[in-house]
C-alpha cells in the first residue's frame, strides 16, 4: 500500500480541522470512543451539530480558543491508500508551523472560505508550496453552504486562483466543498450539480505519486560503526541514508570534502549483505581503502562527481522562521542533512532589506567549510538546509540553494 503525505493550509477559520474531522468521520477512521467524546463535547459547547474540529485540535489552548496553533499529524487509511495529514495552523504568526507540515508533503490542500475568496494568506501559503516544490495542489473552496452553493461565486474564486498561480486549469485541482455539511468530501454532492469533478477523497486516493529520479549518487555519513569486537575486529562501516541515487558493490566513490577515492567493498543492511542500495534506504558502506571519514562527510558515486560542486559560497532563497530578525553581523549554524557548519549572510538581494518572521527572499552565504551546493531545483534532497541561531538554538530559517 502507498503512503500519501498531505498538508492542509488556509486562513484562520477556513475550516481545516473541520474538513479533516469530516474526512475521518466519513471514512470511518474515528473509533467509537473518540466519536462519542466529540459528540459529547459538541453538546456541552451548546452547538446543535457535531464539531469535527475537535477530532484534531489537541491542545487545551487550541480548544479554548477554537483555533489550531501547531500541526497535528493525523493518520487514516482507505482500501486504496494510507494518508498522513499535517493539519497546519492558519494564523500568520504560526506560518512556520505550516512550513514544518509542508516540508514532507507530496500534496497540499489549500482551503479558501467561499465567502471571503482569495486572501493574502492564500498567496503566502501558495508561495510556500512553490518554495518547497510540492507536487500537487488542491484548492478546496469551503463553506459553500454559506453562499448557497452559488456556481457564479465559485467561478469568480476560480478565476482569482488561476491568476494567483499563473497556472493552467488542468494542472490544478479545485473543488467546492462544505466540510460542515459533508458536501464533496467522500461522495459527490447533490448540492453542486454544476461540479463534475471527483470528491476530495477520490482525488487524494488517485493522485500520482511522483517517483524521484535523481542522477547524483550521494550518501551522507551519519555514524561510523566500529564494533571493536573479536568477531568484527577490523569492521569499519559508514552508516547513513542514501540521500539520492543508488550504490552498488564495486562502485568507485569519492569522499566529500576530503576528495579521497576508493571503491565499495561491501554493503550491509542491519547485518545482511546486499549488492544494491537505493535512495531512501539506510545502509552501511565498507570501503576497500582505510580512509578518514566521519559524520557529516558524504560518499559520492563517481558519476555524480562532476555535477556536485563543493562550494564555500552559496546563493539561496530562505524563509525566516523565528521572532528575532536576521542579524547579518552574527554567525549562524547551517545544517545540511547531517552536516553542520558555521555561516554568515554576506548579501541580501533586493527586498526584504532584513528578514523578519515569515519573510521569504534571496541571500548569499559564506561558509566555514565547503558543502555540496547542488541547487534545490536539481536535487530536492541535497539542495536544502536550515539555519540555526546559536543564541537560541532555534531553527531560524529554511533555505533552498539556487
Amino acid at each position: 500500500m502507498e503512503l500519501l503525505r498531505i498538508v492542509t493550509a488556509g486562513s484562520v477559520d477556513d475550516g481545516k480541522s473541520t474538513l479533516i474531522g469530516r474526512l475521518l468521520y466519513e471514512t470511518k477512521s474515528l473509533k467509537d470512543d473518540q466519536l462519542e467524546h466529540i459528540v459529547e463535547k459538541s453538546k456541552s459547547k451548546g452547538i446543535d451539530y457535531i464539531d469535527f474540529s475537535l477530532a484534531t485540535d489537541g491542545l487545551l489552548t487550541e480548544r479554548e480558543q477554537g483555533i489550531t496553533i501547531d500541526i497535528s499529524n493525523i493518520f487514516f487509511k482507505t482500501n486504496q491508500r494510507r494518508f498522513i495529514i499535517a493539519d497546519a495552523p492558519g494564523h500568520v504568526e504560526y506560518t512556520r508551523n505550516m512550513v514544518t507540515g509542508a516540508s514532507n508533503a507530496d500534496t497540499a490542500i489549500i482551503l479558501i472560505d467561499a465567502r471571503k475568496g482569495v486572501l493574502e494568506q492564500t498567496q503566502r501559503h501558495y508561495n510556500i508550496t512553490q518554495l518547497l516544490g510540492i507536487n500537487h495542489l488542491i484548492f478546496v473552496i469551503n463553506k459553500m453552504d454559506l453562499i448557497d452553493y452559488n456556481h457564479e461565486k465559485f467561478k469568480g474564486i476560480k478565476e482569482d486562483i488561476l491568476q494567483l498561480t499563473q497556472k493552467n486549469e488542468n494542472t490544478l485541482h479545485l473543488l467546492p466543498v462544505s466540510a460542515l455539511k459533508g458536501d464533496n468530501i467522500t461522495i459527490q454532492s447533490k448540492n453542486t450539480p454544476w461540479y463534475n469533478g471527483p470528491a476530495l477523497l477520490e482525488l487524494i486516493e488517485n493522485i500520482d505519486l511522483v517517483p524521484s529520479n535523481q542522477q547524483e549518487n550521494i550518501l551522507q555519513v551519519q555514524w561510523v560503526i566500529r564494533p571493536q569486537l573479536k568477531s568484527h575486529h577490523d569492521y569499519r562501516g559508514f552508516a547513513g541514508k542514501v540521500n539520492s541515487g543508488c550504490f552498488r558493490v564495486g562502485d568507485e566513490i569519492t569522499v566529500f570534502p576530503s576528495g579521497l577515492n576508493s571503491k565499495i567493498k561491501q554493503i550491509d543492511r542491519y547485518g545482511k549483505a546486499v549488492t544494491l542500495l537505493y535512495e531512501g534506504e539506510n545502509g552501511t558502506l565498507i570501503l576497500e581503502d582505510d580512509i578518514d571519514l566521519s559524520r557529516g562527510s558524504s560518499i559520492i558515486g563517481t558519476t555524480a562527481e562532476e555535477e556536485t560542486q563543493p562550494s564555500k559560497q552559496i546563493n539561496a532563497t530562505i524563509c525566516w522562521m523565528q521572532n528575532q530578525p536576521l542579524n547579518t553581523q552574527s554567525k549562524y549554524f547551517l545544517q545540511q542533512g547531517t552536516q553542520q557548519l558555521q555561516t554568515k549572510v554576506t548579501t541580501i538581494e533586493g527586498s526584504p532589506a532584513s528578514f523578519k518572521l515569515n519573510d521569504i527572499g534571496n541571500i548569499s552565504l559564506r561558509l566555514s567549510e565547503p558543502i555540496l551546493s547542488t541547487p534545490f531545483k536539481q536535487n530536492k534532497n541535497i539542495g536544502r538546509f536550515i539555519l540555526i541561531d546559536p543564541q537560541t538554538n532555534n531553527t531560524a530559517a529554511v533555505g533552498f540553494i539556487r
Binding site: 500500500m1 502507498e2 503512503l3 473509533k31 467509537d32 470512543d33 473518540q34 484534531t56 485540535d57 489537541g58 491542545l59 487545551l60 489552548t61 480548544r63 496553533i69 501547531d70 500541526i71 497535528s72 499529524n73 493525523i74 493518520f75 498522513i84 512550513v99 514544518t100 516540508s103 514532507n104 551519519q222 555514524w223 560503526i225 566500529r226 564494533p227 571493536q228 569486537l229 568477531s231 568484527h232 569492521y235 552508516a239 547513513g240 541514508k241 542491519y270 547485518g271 531512501g280 534506504e281 539506510n282 559524520r295 522562521m321 549554524f333 545544517q335 545540511q336 542533512g337 547531517t338 536544502r384 538546509f385 536550515i386 540555526i388 546559536p390 538554538n393 532555534n394 531553527t395 529554511v398
Partner: protein
C-alpha cells in the same frame, strides 16, 4: 518501498541522528511493546556494534511482574546496559507524595523520578516510543522535542522541523525527547513484531486473570487497591497497552497469537489509549503531564 519498510528506515535514521548529535543519550525502556520495537530498531541501527547508549527504566513499583521479568530477559538478550530509576526512592526522599484515595496511581509521580535521573546521569537526549496516533497531544509533538531545564514541553514554542533535518542543538541543562516511531500506528507496531518475530511479555496475550469493573473498564486485581471480593471475577483477558497495574485496563479477549491480535485490532471499535485510566482523568490529561516533563 512498502510502508513498514519506510517506517523502519525513518526510525533507524532518527536513532542514528540521536547517537550522532548527543553526548549522553538513553533509550527509555519499559518492557512494553513499543519500547521492545525500539530496542530492536536500536540494535539494528548499530549492528554489528553494540547499542552506544544505555536503556533507562523508570520503575513505578506498580509494574506487572511479567513485564519486569521480560525486561531483564531482553536486556541480556540484546547485550544492553540497563539503568533503573525507582519512584519508591523519590517517595522515600520526600520529593513526591504517594497519592491517596480509592484509585491512587503512581503515574504522575514517575515524572519527578525521570527528571531527577536525567539530571543525575546528565542525559541530553531520551529516546521514547510515543506515537502520534495514540493521543491528540502526542499528534502535535515533533520528532526532536526540546524540554527546558525543568523538563517542560512548551507546546507553543516548538521548533520548526523540516524534511529529515533534525536540529538537536540545546543549551546546557536542556534535553531532547526523540521519538523514532512517531509515524507508526498501533497496527504497524504489531505487523512489525510479527515480521521481526519479536518476543513480548505474555500479558499481551490472552490469559486468565482476576479482574473487576471500574468506569466501564476491566481492571486487574492488584495489591495496591482494596477491592471488595464480591466484585472480582475471573475472565480470559489480555492487555492492549501496558502501563502500571494500577491504571491499565484489560480487554476481554481470546487472542493468543500475534496474528490473532492483529485481527482483533483491525476489528476493534475502540482506540488503544481508551484502556488507560491515566488519560481519562481530564480532557488534557496527557498534555498537562507532558508540560511538566512526562515523556
Amino acid at each position: 518501498m512498502n510502508i513498514l519498510k519506510q517506517l523502519e528506515e525513518e526510525a533507524i535514521y532518527i536513532i542514528r541522528e540521536v547517537a550522532g548529535q548527543f553526548n549522553q543519550p538513553a533509550l527509555l525502556f519499559s518492557g512494553g511493546k513499543d519500547s521492545i520495537v525500539l530496542l530492536h530498531l536500536c540494535a539494528k541501527a548499530f549492528y554489528p556494534g553494540k547499542i552506544p547508549f544505555p536503556l533507562l527504566h523508570i520503575d513505578t513499583g506498580h509494574n506487572f511482574q511479567e513485564t519486569l521479568n521480560h525486561r531483564d530477559y531482553l536486556v541480556e538478550k540484546y547485550n544492553a546496559r540497563l539503568i533503573i530509576g525507582l519512584v519508591q526512592d523519590s517517595i522515600d526522599q520526600g520529593k513526591v507524595q504517594e497519592e491517596t484515595g480509592k484509585f491512587s496511581s503512581r503515574n504522575g509521580l514517575q515524572t519527578t523520578t525521570l527528571l531527577d535521573t536525567i539530571e543525575e546521569l546528565k542525559l541530553d537526549a531520551c529516546i521514547g516510543g510515543a506515537r502520534r496516533d495514540e493521543e491528540k497531544a502526542r499528534a502535535k509533538e515533533r520528532i526532536f522535542s526540546v524540554r527546558d531545564d525543568f523538563g517542560q514541553w512548551n507546546e507553543k514554542l516548538q521548533r520548526p522541523e523540516l524534511f529529515d533535518i533534525l536540529n538537536g542543538r540545546i543549551h546546557t541543562g536542556e534535553n531532547v525527547r526523540a521519538f523514532p516511531i512517531s509515524n507508526w500506528t498501533e497496527l504497524d507496531v504489531w505487523e512489525y513484531i510479527k515480521q521481526e518475530n519479536l518476543e513480548l511479555p505474555n500479558i499481551y496475550f490472552a490469559h486468565k486473570r482476576e479482574i473487576y469493573p471500574r468506569e466501564g473498564q476491566w481492571m486487574p486485581r492488584c495489591e495496591f487497591h482494596n477491592i471488595p471480593e464480591d466484585v472480582i471475577q475471573e475472565k480470559t483477558v489480555r492487555f492492549r497497552t501496558v502501563g502500571d497495574m494500577s491504571c491499565t485496563a484489560a480487554v476481554v479477549s481470546n487472542a493468543s497469537t500475534v496474528e490473532e491480535i492483529i485481527h482483533e485490532i483491525k476489528a476493534s471499535a475502540f482506540s488503544e489509549r481508551g484502556a488507560r485510566m491515566d488519560d481519562k482523568r481530564s480532557e488534557g490529561a496527557m498534555e498537562e503531564r507532558k508540560k511538566v516533563g512526562y515523556f
